[in-house]
Symmetry: C2
């Protein structure tokens, strides 16, 4: 099981918009070339980032732009935007038909739910602690040292 690559793709996209955005139009075709991901997927990810208020895009004119400063975008915002984990279902997939006639079967969900939520929250809190400005700053530093 792995969290969809749309997440790392989205971070890659946002980094490109900041790194290249001033010199050129950052189109879905360009992003497809940089990420190695199909342009339709790129457009879908951009649409999700746009719905989340993270980027602006427009038909025709082309080129994605940041809708807010990088330091106001965390990995968690990106994670939410691309729907890595379904809000209803949660991170852990429960076996769906525990037997209600078994004392354990009818209570296991109740007993585990809070704890699994805490595990998911621990992961999400860590995502909240990283802002895109850190990611991009590191990227620019590495590029300048190459």
């Amino acid at each position: 099981m792995q969290i969809t690559s749309k997440f790392t793709t989205a971070v890659h996209i946002l980094t490109c918009i900041d790194v290249f955005g001033e010199q050129m139009r950052v189109t879905s075709e360009f992003l497809s070339g940089s990420t190695g991901v199909n342009a339709v997927i790129i457009r879908n990810v951009l649409a999700q980032l746009r719905s989340a208020g993270i980027v602006n895009t427009r038909q025709g004119s082309g080129g994605a732009h940041l809708a807010k400063p990088l330091n106001e975008i965390t990995l968690y915002d990106v994670y939410l935007a691309v729907e890595c984990v379904d809000n209803d279902e949660g991170l852990f997939h429960f076996h769906e038909n525990p037997n209600a006639r078994c004392p354990v079967g009818r209570n296991i969900h109740k007993v585990m739910d809070n704890r699994l939520s805490a595990v998911q929250a621990a992961m999400e809190n860590e995502l909240k602690s990283v802002s895109l400005s850190e990611i991009v700053a590191d990227t620019k530093r590495i590029i300048s040292e190459e």
Copy 2:
């Protein structure tokens, strides 16, 4: 994206072994009935728990038994045993073909890896903090109050 239900199934199994183990043989058929999960899946999960030194099973005689006390088994041990997350790949699936000729493409992995590992570690640390004895104690308490 969700973590395989083999994880919650395994916790369910271990709870059943402790709750019912003294009164009866806890066979894969019985566990299949309690969990609503196919008996072959149950046997596969039991095989993984056995490989991890968490339970004992034997051909023929039937009935799974705990190989160590519940308070020495954490959710993390179970998570490792049933291989929720591939050790090589990690929790996050990276897009696989970033363009090495793009400055961002050839560095994005390097920049993100540490941070994604930290996120995964935060989740796994939370799993380590919960022992099966807590889960089973809660279950028994709820059953006794029904």
